[in-house]
């Protein structure tokens, strides 16, 4: 029994490690805001709060309009892992509960890095995340404290 459990744990660990490796190989997720945003740095916790529906505002008091990438995008999974340490399933359960119990609405979603950038530039949203390699001058990368 114990051996089996240990083996399972080992396998899980290996899987997570592989995912992380793949993600990092593919690239690194960065938090981005519109190029003209006053926000330049945020803590992981502040970001996580915004993207888990626990806060609607930036630390300076201005309204936060978060944008998620679509379900299944690697950036989304990597992002949540990065800021909150939650797995996609945990994030989904979290939002299910919030929506079902009427406590919040999840961020809007964009299907790709480019769509994210477009939406940010249009100021329909003001914070999201993209693969570092796709970042350009149209957006500002937020320094994670």
């Amino acid at each position: 029994m114990n051996n089996k459990k240990r083996l399972n744990r080992l396998l899980k660990f290996a899987l997570i490690a592989t995912c992380c490796f793949v993600a990092s190989a593919r690239g690194e997720v960065v938090i981005v805001v519109p190029a003209d945003s006053p926000i330049s740095s945020l803590s992981k916790a502040q970001v996580a709060k915004i993207f888990l529906g626990k806060s609607r505002r930036f630390p300076d008091g201005s309204k936060a309009l978060p944008l998620n990438q679509s379900e299944g995008n690697l950036e989304r999974d990597a992002f949540y892992q990065l800021v909150s340490g939650k797995s996609p399933a945990q994030v989904k359960a979290h939002w299910s509960k919030l929506i079902f119990t009427g406590r919040g609405q999840p961020p809007r979603e964009a299907p790709s890095n480019n769509a994210v950038k477009q939406l940010l530039t249009s100021h329909r949203v003001n914070i999201s995340y993209i693969d570092r390699s796709t970042a350009d001058e149209s957006v500002k990368i937020v320094v994670l404290k």
Binding site: N68, S70, E71, K92, A93, W95, S96, K97, I99, F100, T101, G102, Q105, P106, P107, R108, E109
Partner: protein, 780 residues
């Protein structure tokens, strides 16, 4: 005959019983009391414990029911709201589509945030043929015409929900909701539908409220669980008995705002877990919400509490039992010791009483008890006009027996006599010992002289049988005097006195005899009274004189001292020898002043001789028993020594052996004190009676006087010679001065000289003479 002892016994018994009663009132028997208290305590303890347990169970049950009701209300509201949101969002889609069937419409609505969140929902549109023509995600299915949510919309225009279905790729259970799209004419133009994971509807499951074994779910009226969650386990598509769970009583559906929900404790059919289960059917949808709280989880606290209480109660019970046992033990011990103390008290009281009323030697009633018995007997006899006889008994020659066989033997004899007397008499008769060798017998209802004679003879016979004492058989006789109430006296004193007189008469009449009292006898006893009164006068008048018999040193022949001998110079009767008046003086106690006078007179005489120029002489004076035991003796001697200023070593007091035997320890004490005064002590009449040589060892006498009877037959009896020699040798060993008395012949004197006797006295040398004569002789 009432017996004071009996009375007192009764009193004591009354006392004890009353005190026992008190005890019973104060304390019920501890072996009943403590267990009873224990049982009461135990019953109270356990009843309380079970009450607390059942109350706590009931409270827990109530709180489970209350919280299940509250939780199901909340859940119902959440489900209804979620369904309405879905309905609303689909309505927006259908209405938009009916206005403008543009394919970009969905993304537009999405951009406007009019659709259900992408995060969970996939919204699609199908045309009238069931072909999916647009979706917020890549199409999951392309044809849905066969699906229930499509079919339903063909007929109704309202939100329809699907059975749960499993995503073939992700294996996730989903639910689909649909609404009809109509043409402007109202014909069926297709449906808008949205799919969401079934788990969405149970995402509100809180373990803090529902526990790990609780249940939260949505059940269709068709009996299929859309979704059901217990802890982290989420299941869809399961069958359950709708009616068994939902108790919407259609007939009784009064227009109450919120009908009562019934929480039931039941084994849930799907997982066989017993839960407080409650279900509520939704008004707008063919669904019901189900909620359950596991009994085991809800009751866990109460059960733990129950275990704690049971454990505590058990511990307390054991402690109580132990305490009870300890208390019981202690109180039983206490009771026992109390009883013991009581018994000791009683037995002590009895003993004291017995001692007070009985003679310690024979166990017979003593003088004071007898006196009570007699006065009581007299009173009774008076009342019933009966006669009462009193027998006064005196053992003949008891003194001799006591002196020769010793005190212990004398006591033995008295005991045996007492025993024989008791045996010889009836139970109603009373035998008492008045002291010494005097016994009295009280015969109630005795009026016939013949009968009395028979009794007296019986007594004489009983006492006359041989006794076996101190290793030898001997015979004792008794003299009996009889007086009868009321003839011989109507009061106690007279009766006793007259019986005593009769007894004396019997003694005079030859002993071993009995004698009835008569007035003539009384006259005889008057003689005695006369003697006594004249003896008393003699003391006052100084009618006593001392004669002296000199003691000679055998070797030198010199006079070393003299023995003072008492004589009564009666004015009419002339010189009376001591044996004629001494017993009476001893009996009446007159010997005390007489003896005192004698010692003083002797001391004065010694001084007188000294004044006359004679060499110092040692004066010997005899002490009688009464004198010797007199408490004043020492003071008197000291007084005399001081007054006469005589050298104490010149005074020698002579005591007989028998005197020592009465109370040896006390006698030794008295002797030591006398000796402490410097006065010499001689043991007199040595060799005449039973003497233990160890007596000599216990006290150091200054002088040993061999009795005249020992040396009387020295000439003829070799054994007497040997005895004399033995006594002398013992005396010498003990460094005593040995004086031989009663030396009457030259033969005896020579023998004594040869036997190394120190001094002699006797007729061979001189007869006791008044001091004047003594002087004359010495001067010769």
């Amino acid at each position: 005959m009432p017996n004071p002892l009996e009375e007192t016994k009764e009193q004591i018994q009354i006392d004890t019983t009353s005190s026992e009663k008190d005890n019973q009132n104060k304390f019920i028997e501890p072996q009943v009391f403590y267990p009873a208290v224990l049982i009461v305590f135990l019953i109270t303890l356990w009843v309380t414990t079970f009450n607390i347990i059942s109350t706590s169970h009931q409270r827990t049950r109530d709180s489970a029911i209350t919280s299940a009701t509250a939780l199901v209300r909340t859940y119902e509201a959440q489900v209804v709201r979620a369904l309405r949101e879905i309905d609303q969002a689909l309505n927006v889609v259908t209405k938009s589509y009916e206005l403008n069937d543009d394919n970009t419409m969905l993304s537009l609505l999405n951009e406007w945030d009019l659709l259900l969140p992408d995060f969970l929902f996939v919204t699609s549109i199908a045309d009238a043929d069931g072909n999916v023509i647009n979706s917020t995600r890549p199409f999951e299915k392309h044809r849905i015409a066969d699906q229930s949510y499509f079919q339903q919309q063909l007929e109704f225009d309202q939100l329809a929900s699907s059975q749960p279905w499993q995503d073939p790729y992700t294996k996730v259970w989903k639910l689909t909701f649909s609404r009809r799209i109509s043409t402007p004419a109202g014909d069926f133009a297709g449906i808008a539908f949205t799919s969401v994971e079934a788990s969405y509807f149970v995402s509100g499951y809180e373990e803090s409220q529902l526990g790990k074994q609780g249940v939260l779910g949505i059940l269709g009226t068709d009996g299929t669980f859309r979704v059901r969650r217990s802890g982290q386990k989420i299941v869809s598509g399961e069958k359950a008995n709708f009616n068994q769970l939902v108790h919407g009583d259609e007939e009784l559906e009064e227009l109450e705002e919120l009908e009562e929900l019934e929480v039931r404790l039941q084994d849930n059919s799907w997982d066989q877990i017993k839960r407080y289960t409650v279900a509520s059917q939704l008004y707008e949808f063919p669904l019901a919400v189900v909620l359950g709280l596991s009994e085991k989880e809800q009751m866990q606290g109460a059960i733990e509490l129950k275990h704690v209480y049971l454990l505590r109660a058990s511990a307390a019970s054991v402690a109580l039992m132990l305490l009870t046992i300890i208390f019981l033990r202690l109180s039983l011990q206490l009771k026992q010791s109390r009883n013991q103390a009581l018994e000791e008290h009683i037995s002590h009281a009895k003993k004291v009483e017995h001692l007070a009323f009985h003679d310690s030697l024979t166990g017979l009633p003593n003088r004071s008890f007898f006196s009570q018995l007699l006065s009581h007997g007299i009173a009774e006899a008076k009342r019933y006009e009966r006669r009462l006889a009193l027998l006064f008994l005196d053992l003949d020659r008891f003194k001799i027996i006591n002196d020769t066989l010793g005190h212990d033997a004398g006591d033995e004899l008295l005991k045996e006599v007492a025993h024989r007397l008791s045996e010889a008499l009836r139970e109603t008769d009373t035998v008492a010992r008045l002291g010494g060798d005097e016994f009295v017998v009280l015969l109630p209802e005795m009026n016939d002289e013949k009968q009395l004679s028979a009794v007296a003879k019986k007594i004489l016979c009983a006492v006359g049988k041989p006794f076996h004492l101190a290793g030898q058989d001997l015979r004792v006789t008794v003299s009996i005097g009889i007086s009868v109430f009321p003839i011989d006296g109507e009061d106690e004193q007279t009766l006793v006195k007259n019986a005593d007189i009769a007894m004396y008469h019997a003694k005079e009449g030859g002993k071993n005899n009995f004698c009835f009292y008569s007035d003539e006898l009384s006259a005889d006893s008057l003689e005695r009274l006369a003697l006594e009164s004249s003896l008393r006068q003699a003391v006052d008048r100084g009618e006593f004189v001392l004669h002296y018999q000199e003691k000679h040193d055998l070797r030198s022949g010199e006079i070393t001292g003299a023995e003072a001998l008492l004589r009564w110079q009666h004015p009419t009767l002339g010189l009376i020898q001591p044996m004629q008046f001494l017993p009476l003086a001893e009996e009446t106690g007159l010997i005390i002043p007489i003896g005192k006078w004698a010692i003083e007179a002797a001391c004065k005489q010694a001084n007188k001789w000294a004044e006359e120029g004679l060499p110092p002489r040692c004066i010997s004076v005899n002490l009688t028993e009464r004198q010797f035991t007199d408490a004043q003796l020492l003071d008197d001697i000291a007084d005399i020594l001081q007054r006469t200023a005589i050298n104490p070593a010149q005074l020698e007091l002579e005591i007989t052996e028998s005197l020592l035997l009465r109370n040896f320890e006390r006698a030794l004490k008295t002797l030591s004190r006398i000796k402490d005064l410097g006065v010499r002590i001689a043991i007199d009449n040595f060799g005449t009676s039973y003497t233990s040589l160890s007596t000599l060892d216990k006290f150091h006498f200054d002088t040993l006087k061999i009795d005249g009877s020992v040396i009387r037959d020295i000439a003829n009896q070799p054994s007497d010679k040997e005895l004399t020699e033995a006594i002398i040798s013992v005396g010498r060993t003990m460094a005593m001065t040995i004086v031989a008395e009663g030396v009457e012949t030259q033969e005896q004197a020579e023998f004594l000289l040869n036997s190394s006797c120190d001094q002699v006295q006797g007729f061979y040398y001189d007869k006791p003479t008044p001091p004047s004569l003594t002087n004359a002789r010495t001067n010769e």
